[in-house]
């Protein structure tokens, strides 16, 4: 049973603030063009867009592994790109990241992967082996993987890998979960499982979620708000925010590119 969404917080301070973000590639192409957004506590914020719209670039900038050409990103009130390394690492304790591939360490078991954030940030827990094992098992139980704790990632299915990666991303109960195409390459059942888990776990721990996706079914299921970015085929509008609003705003939008994306996708889903 998925818990109900938290009540909106109109006057709240945003957890993530992006202002006039521009990312130019060395060939002069702007892959992100003046992107601004605010993400508030309790949001399940979805970044939508077709191929080449800069979704992954935006995600890399949000988590600090890529630098913007101009513009600012404030995560939990701090400008992530001007923070010294040590402070940035401390800030990232409050940010969980779920990568498209899962990015589990292949040389470690599922349990060891989930234990990694504790070993890094909670020496007290990691020094007490029993406590660490119990904590990791609890995290794995939440994604229904406790029976597979001692398996290596290569022994898991795609959906299980994503669930293990989700457990690792949420291990430290982060304030913000950033998720890159969490359902790509998964069958509809696994997709629904990941969507449900994302919502359930984030609501239980009060985590705000940012999901980068082009999966409309996931968008329908989980998004409270979002933005849509112009894709490569949209020419001058590539990397600009075509629409920012609630889930309902997207379905009611008259913007031709938004309508085109939604209808094309729906047609594709029906055909598929």
């Amino acid at each position: 049973m998925i818990p109900p969404p938290p009540a909106p917080m109109p006057a709240a301070t945003p957890l993530l603030v992006v202002r006039n973000l521009v990312k130019a590639f060395p060939n002069g192409t702007n892959v992100l063009n003046g992107v601004s957004l605010d993400i508030f506590a309790g949001d399940v914020f979805t970044v939508l867009g077709g191929s080449g719209c800069g979704k992954s670039t935006l995600l890399n900038i949000l988590i600090g592994v890529d630098e913007p050409t101009s513009g600012t990103v404030h995560v939990l009130g701090q400008n992530i790109h001007s923070l010294p390394q040590r402070q940035r690492k401390r800030l990232m304790r409050d940010v969980g990241v779920l990568f498209q591939s899962g990015a589990l360490l292949q040389s470690l078991t599922v349990a060891e992967n989930v234990a990694l954030p504790f070993q890094q940030h909670h020496p007290k827990i990691s020094r007490d082996r029993d406590l660490l094992e119990d904590t990791v098992l609890m995290k794995l139980r939440a994604v229904k993987l406790d029976a597979h704790a001692q398996k290596y990632p290569r022994e898991l299915s795609g959906g299980m890998k994503k669930r293990a990666a989700l457990a690792r991303a949420l291990a430290l109960d982060p304030k913000l979960l950033i998720s890159d195409e969490p359902t790509s390459g998964l069958d509809p059942v696994s997709t629904k499982e990941i969507d449900d888990l994302t919502i359930t776990l984030s609501r239980k721990s009060g985590t705000t979620v940012v999901v980068v996706t082009h999966d409309l079914l996931s968008f329908q299921r989980i998004a409270t708000r979002g933005i849509m970015l112009g894709a490569e085929r949209d020419g001058a509008l590539r990397g600009t925010v075509l629409l920012a609003g609630s889930r309902e705003d997207f379905f009611a939008s008259e913007h031709p590119l938004v309508r085109g994306f939604f209808h094309l996708k729906e047609a594709g889903d029906v055909q598929g």
Binding site: N60, I63, G64, V65, D66, Q85, R88, K89, R90, M92, R93, V95, V97, F99, Q100, S101, A103, L104, L105, Q106, S107, E112, L116, P117, Q119, Q120, H121, S126, R168
Partner: protein
């Protein structure tokens, strides 16, 4: 090192030193990684090193016996084999096997991790990639390559003794006496010291190439090849520089006398 940025030699060296000095006590998981890698580098390379070292030692002895017999100096063969093996052949031979097996493997493994977003995941979790991944590998390289070098000298001497025994009827006692009396242990230290330096040089190349891999799965092969070629070139160059410096120091020492 900047998160997500390019890994440079200077950045890698600085973060490895910082990682080792800030918290010198390594957790159990890192010791586990160190011992696993040491096994792969050292123990599993034993058959290859045995074959190569035995052949090189035998061939070296054959060439020296042939040349020195003309000068009636064939009795110096064990001594020359000891010096040449320790100072030049064993460090280079062990380095070649090590580069072919372990440097290529490490570079490929890191490239795979980079492409599979594992490095990015570690960075975003706040894990110090240098300390967590590279330090155990570097430790294993620096410990195991000198061990391999010493082993290479031993097996090389065994091969050379075989030739001396067959050609000149020299028994094991005579061979050891002629090789080691008066003792020249500095040769063994030079060889082991060189190997430790080679390990650091090759490891840094493997780490940098692997961590800067870009592209798809084809990049893994490309990175492994580049790491092997660059490491071989760098180790050969470093060996020439060390030998040159050594000769300059010896010349200066003799002039002072």
């Amino acid at each position: 090192m900047k998160l997500g940025g390019e890994y440079t030699y200077a950045g890698l060296s600085a973060s490895l030193c910082r990682g080792a000095l800030e918290r010198p006590w390594l957790p159990l998981s890192m010791w586990k990684a160190f011992f696993q890698r040491s096994m792969i580098i050292g123990v599993r390379a034993v058959p290859t090193v045995f074959l190569m070292a035995f052949c090189v030692g035998s061939v070296l002895a054959m060439v020296l016996v042939e040349q020195l017999q003309e000068l009636n100096m064939e009795e110096t063969v064990p001594r020359l084999v000891w010096i040449i093996l320790n100072q030049q052949l064993a460090p280079m031979l062990a380095a070649v096997v090590f580069i072919g097996r372990s440097v290529s493997g490490s570079a490929a493994e890191l490239a795979n991790m980079k492409i599979g977003e594992e490095i990015k995941a570690l960075e975003t979790m706040g894990v110090d990639v240098s300390r967590y991944l590279l330090l155990p590998a570097l430790g294993a390289f620096v410990v195991m390559l000198p061990v391999m070098e010493i082993y290479t000298v031993g097996i090389g001497l065994l091969g050379a003794h075989g030739v001396c025994s067959l050609v000149m009827g020299m028994d094991a006692n005579q061979f050891v006496l002629r090789a080691l009396v008066p003792p020249r242990m500095q040769d063994a230290f030079i060889g082991a010291g060189k190997s430790a330096v080679f390990a650091v040089v090759a490891a840094m190349i493997a780490f940098r190439k692997g961590l800067n891999a870009t592209g798809g799965s084809d990049a893994v092969g490309r990175v492994a090849t580049a790491a092997v070629v660059s490491s071989l070139a760098a180790v050969t160059l470093v060996n020439a520089v060390i030998t040159g410096l050594q000769n300059v120091l010896i010349a200066a020492h003799l002039m002072n006398k």
